[in-house]
């Protein structure tokens, strides 16, 4: 599974690029071409959104980068330059993954859910305690460490999921439509929180979404993808400087960017009449 990705790690990844995909395709077992060929470079510390219609393979692209799936062809390069790449835990410590659902273990507390990646890496209890506390503080859930996931709201569960992704201090954060199932107000708040986490920690973030507004609000660069098989359609740079806040959400510049991205996205939906 990790074979092709590991092989290309040394090959690709130009200087400064955290993730680079070269001619990556994915064909499902059914013979369906789901993705690509796709070329993508993400700079270290950059916040990039992948935007496209559902079923365009953007989630698949994320799973390829995470090494959860192997590409049918092409190379996936992931560079981990920090000292976190310990032997035996290469991918796990370089990459944090947030799924569309919170994906928490219901049988254990918030603290143990966040501790999981460290436990799997055989970290000592003392070390993991400190890091779990820090990760929970980053998402504002310190008081809920002993709660069980079922006692939390949807937004809080998603925060736990984010804390778990941050606990290994990864270089790259992969997020697969993490806020899609939340109500709008919770979603806005989590957008702001994610931005402040990103400002503080400067992770490389690849954020998959099908919301134009979310992609413009969060990212430095929006990658618009075509419908299946997903390819790169347009790339739009959002030049508004940080820190962005609620003012940006209501600004004329924001509206203009949203219009631009919507227009770029329109051809991707053109083929799918009626849906």
């Amino acid at each position: 599974m990790a074979g092709p990705a590991a092989l290309s790690e040394s090959a690709a990844a130009p200087a400064g690029a955290a993730v680079s995909l070269r001619g990556v395709t994915k064909v499902y077992d059914s013979g369906l071409l789901a993705l690509g060929p796709l070329d993508l470079d993400v700079r270290s510390g950059e916040f990039v959104s992948l935007l496209g219609p559902s079923g365009c393979g953007k989630s698949t692209a994320l799973r390829l980068i995470a090494g959860l799936k192997a590409p049918t062809s092409g190379s996936v390069g992931v560079s981990h330059h920090s000292g976190q790449a310990r032997a035996g835990h290469s991918n796990g410590f370089a990459i944090g993954f947030v799924f569309q659902e919170p994906t928490l273990m219901p049988w254990t507390s918030v603290r143990e859910n966040v501790r999981l990646p460290l436990k799997l890496a055989h970290a000592s209890l003392a070390e993991s305690d400190a890091r779990v506390r820090e990760a929970l503080a980053q998402v504002g859930l310190t008081e809920f460490a002993d709660a069980y996931p079922r006692e939390l709201s949807g937004g809080m569960k998603m925060r736990v999921s984010l804390a778990r992704a941050l606990v290994t201090d990864p270089d790259i954060l992969l997020m697969d439509e993490p806020f899609a199932a939340l109500d709008e107000i919770t979603r806005f708040r989590l957008n702001n929180d994610l931005l402040s986490v990103w400002r503080n920690l400067r992770k490389t973030v690849i954020f998959v979404t099908h919301s134009v507004f979310e992609s413009v609000y969060l990212s430095q660069r929006v990658i618009v993808m075509t419908s299946r098989p997903g390819r790169l359609s347009t790339e739009i740079r959002i030049d508004t400087p940080e820190p962005r806040g609620e003012d940006f959400r209501t600004s004329a510049a924001y509206a203009a960017y949203c219009r631009m991205v919507s227009n770029a996205l329109a051809p991707s939906y053109a083929g799918q009449s009626g849906s």
């Binding site: 995470a66 835990h89 993954f97 994906t103 219901p106 799997l120 069980y148």
Partner: protein, 278 residues
Amino acid sequence: MTSFDASPSSAAQPEPDTRRLRMVRLLLPLLVLAAGVVLWELVVRLNNIPAYVLPGPGAVFRTLVQDWPVLSQSLLTTLLTTLEGFVAAAIGGIILAVLFNQSKWLEYSLFPYAVILQVTPVIAIAPLLLIYLPQQTAVVVCAWIVAFFPVLSNTTLGLNSVDRNLAGLFQLYGASRIQTLRYLKLPSALPFILAGLRIAGGLSLIGAVVAEIAAGSAGAGSGLAYRIAESGYRLNIPRMFAALLLLSAAGIVIYGLLALASHLMLRHWHESALGKEN
């Protein structure tokens, strides 16, 4: 106007309401029991039915008290057999399911035989077992045969019902097979395992009784089922009823204990053990 007045008071009353409902649910079966006992006693008395045909509940209760030294000894024997069979079934079923989960080859090779063992009536296997095994062992093996399959099949189902994304997460963090089993598969399978054990508890009692009856006719043993068979030959019908009563009580207690254990283990997180208000 009246409906307006009524709504707050009914909204303020949910607790007493549920409490009353719980009382009713407890009292109704007890009421039926009392009515049944009274009816039984009346039928026996009014028709002057002799005790060797149908003893009244009073006679059964008297026998239970009088024969307590014998019956309690038998109860202990049967319970011990049941416990041994149950423990063997629990350990065997869970271990086999885990092995099947780790190796498809093993599962494909052995699962059909587990099914065959399950569908062959144990009452037909018991006499054979009694020929080849020492009696006490044979009885435990019978209890095991009946009880292990629900544990095996439920545990297998549980181990295969792991959340796909959680499995992906474990893969991402480079979890070993043992770690995945210990931290992911077994905890997710726990509700299924406990459901299997709850079924197995009752079944191991049945297995023990079946084996005792088969063994009893061979002339040895001292379990409750043996007492029933023996009392039948001697036309000691009140004692048959008393022994039967004890068997039912044992079954109820076993089920209750397992249900309680299951509730205690799942109460923090599993839907089945949570109150309705959540």
